[in-house]
Symmetry: C2
C-alpha cells in the first residue's frame, strides 16, 4: 500500500479495492470464513447453516430511474445472501442521516425499503439511526446486513469453479450503471435506461431446484462483469473464456456506452447474476432462468477452460482473444 491515504479507487470494486481488502483489512481480522471473500459468510449454529452478509450503500444520487438507495439496500443484501444459495430471511437497517435531509426524502426511501422487503419476502427486524452534522455525510448512507438459511445439499462458493463448467448470465448488463450515470449528469439521451435492481433469491431458488449441483453464483455489482469473472477465476484458480458476442446487452446501454466512452463490462448491475454450472446441468439451469421473469434473457456466455494461470479471456466477434482485466481506477464512484 504505497499511497498513504484512501483514494476514490479504493472503492471502485476493481484492483485497488481488492488490494485494500486483501492486504490491509483481512489480515487484521484473520479467520477462515472471512478469508474466503465470498459475498456471504457461511456460519453454522447448532447444526443450522446460515448465510450472513453486510453491505453499505452510498449511491449518489439517492433517487435514480428504476429505484433509489432504499430499494438498492434491500435488494443488494438479499442478493448477497442468494448468491450463497441461502433463502434470505432477516435484514438489519443502519441509517446514517445528514442534518438537513428532507423528511419527505427519508419517507420516500423508507417506503421504497418497505416495498422491496415485501417483494423479496424478508423482514427488517433490527435497525439503528445516526445523524451527523450538515457536511459530515452526503444526505443518507444505508447499511443492510442479512441472515438467511442455506438449504441442505447446497454448497455455493466462488472457490468451486471447475474445468468444463459453463458460464451463465441471467440478463443484459450495465443497466444500473448507466441509469445512475444518466441521473447524475442529466443526460436526456439515456432517459430510457432504468436500474435493474431486483431481488434474485427466487430466481436462484428456481435454478437450484432445476439442478442443485451449481458451483458458483455471483452478482456483478461494483466493477461489473469484468471484476466478477476475474474474482471467480482467481478464487477457483481457473481460466475462464467468454464469448463477447454472447453477452446480453440492450441497445440503449450499448449506445450510451459508446457515447460516453464507458465499457459495459465494467458497469455495475444490481439485478443480474453469473453462474458457474457443470456442463451436465447447464441447459437445465438455463431453462429455469429463462422461465423466470428476471432471467428470460439468460445466456451461456462461456466456459471454464483450464487450471492454468487464473485469467479471463474474451473471444471477440472477429475471432481474436484478449485478456479481460480487472478494472483499475474509478469509472463511476458511488454507484451503489
Amino acid at each position: 500500500m504505497r499511497n498513504d491515504t484512501i483514494l476514490l479507487e479504493h472503492g471502485s470494486g476493481g484492483r485497488a479495492s481488492r488490494r485494500l481488502v486483501e492486504e490491509l483489512l483481512v489480515p487484521y481480522l484473520t479467520n477462515q470464513v472471512l478469508e474466503r471473500l465470498d459475498d456471504h459468510a457461511e456460519i453454522e449454529l447448532e447444526g443450522t447453516r446460515l448465510a450472513f452478509t453486510t453491505d453499505s450503500f452510498v449511491v449518489d444520487p439517492i433517487f435514480f430511474p428504476g429505484g433509489d438507495i432504499g430499494k438498492l439496500a434491500v435488494n443488494g443484501t438479499v442478493n448477497d445472501l442468494a448468491m450463497g444459495g441461502a433463502k434470505p430471511l432477516f435484514l438489519s437497517a443502519g441509517l446514517i442521516l445528514e442534518e438537513g435531509l428532507p423528511i419527505a426524502d427519508l419517507e420516500r426511501i423508507m417506503n421504497s425499503m418497505a416495498e422491496a422487503t415485501k417483494k423479496a419476502q424478508v423482514h427488517i427486524v433490527t435497525g439503528d439511526t445516526k445523524v451527523v452534522a450538515h457536511g459530515a455525510a452526503d444526505k443518507i448512507f444505508i447499511n443492510t446486513s442479512g441472515v438467511g438459511l442455506i438449504p441442505k445439499g447446497v454448497a455455493l462458493s466462488g472457490h468451486h469453479g471447475e474445468v468444463g463448467d459453463r458460464v451463465l448470465i441471467s440478463g443484459p448488463i450495465g443497466e444500473h450503471g448507466i441509469a445512475v450515470m444518466a441521473q447524475r449528469s442529466d443526460l436526456d439521451f439515456v432517459a430510457s435506461c432504468k436500474s435493474d435492481t431486483a431481488p434474485l433469491a427466487d430466481l436462484v431458488a428456481q435454478m437450484l431446484y432445476a439442478y442443485q449441483g451449481i458451483h458458483s453464483l455471483r452478482d456483478p455489482t461494483r466493477g461489473g462483469l469484468a471484476a466478477t469473472l476475474n474474482e471467480l477465476a482467481v478464487q477457483s484458480g481457473v481460466r475462464i473464456e467468454v464469448e463477447e458476442s454472447a453477452i446480453p446487452i440492450t441497445e440503449s446501454v450499448e449506445s450510451a456506452c459508446e457515447l460516453l466512452g464507458l465499457d459495459p463490462l465494467h458497469l455495475a448491475n444490481e439485478g443480474v447474476l453469473v453462474a458457474l454450472v457443470p456442463a451436465e446441468g447447464a441447459s437445465l439451469v438455463l431453462d429455469a432462468m429463462r422461465n423466470h421473469p428476471l432471467g428470460h434473457k439468460a445466456q451461456i456466455i462461456g466456459e471454464v477452460c483450464s487450471k492454468k494461470l487464473p485469467a479471463v479471456i474474451l473471444r471477440t466477434p472477429i475471432g481474436g482473444k484478449r485478456v479481460l482485466a480487472v478494472p483499475t481506477g474509478v469509472q463511476l464512484p458511488r454507484i451503489c
Copy 2:
C-alpha cells in the same frame, strides 16, 4: 413530524430520536420483532434462537482516551447482543471511508477492531468497504451487525420489567461521554477520564449464571442512564424510582460535569449495563456483578414501584422527588 428536515437532535438518543424511529421509520417496516424496539431482534431458525442486531458508529473524534471508533464498533454490537442474553458469535463490518483518510489511521482502527474481537471472543466473518469523495463523509463510519445464540431459558426484554424489580447498574456513569468531549475540546482538566468501552457479554453470562430470571438488561449509551431508564419504563409500562445518591459516578466525571454544565445522567456509557431483576434474585446478581472486573462497582440504585403512568422518578439526596425526563435536544452529537 413538524420539522421538515432531519435535525441533529434526531440522532441524540432522546425524545426526537425516539419520535423519528417510532413515528416515521418503524411504521414503514412494521413487523412484530422490530416493533419491540429492544437492542436486539430475537429470531428463530429451525429451533435455534438467535439474536441479531446492528449499529452504525460515527463518533467524532475517531480516536479518544480509552479507545477509538473500531473498538467502540466491536464492543457496541457485542453489548447489544449481550443485552439480549445472547452469546455474541459473529460480526459483520461495513466501512465507509472518506477519500484522504490516512492509511495509518485505518490500520490503527483495524488493529483495534482485531484486538476487541479477540477480547470479546467474536469473529468478523463478513465485510464491505465503500469510499466516498473528500467532504462526503467525515473520515470513517463503521457499521457492525452481530449474530449471537440465546441460551435455552433466557428471555430478556425491555418489556419484561415488573413491580418489585430492583434496578441494578454495573458501574460508574458518564465516562465515555466525558472522554469524547475532552478529546474534542482539548480540555486538559478532564485528561484523567477514559472511555469505559468494554465487552459486557462475559459479565452478562456470570449474572445469568447466578440468577437466570433477570427480566431486562440494557446498556445506557446515547441519551445516557436517563434515556435508558425511560425506555424501560415505557416498554414495561411501569414507574421506576431511583435513588440519586446510589448512582455510581467517579469524582473526575462529576467535576467535569459541573465545570461543563453537563448532566451525567444524560452522558453516554459504553461499558455499563442496567438490569431489572426480581427482588429474590437481586443480591445474587449484585454479587455476581461485583465479582466481575467490569462490575465491581455495581449498585442497586432503585426499584420498579407501580404500574401507574410510565415514568422515572429520581429521589434526591435531600428527600425530594423529581421526574427524570428523556433528554431533549443534543447534549453531545456523534458520541458513538
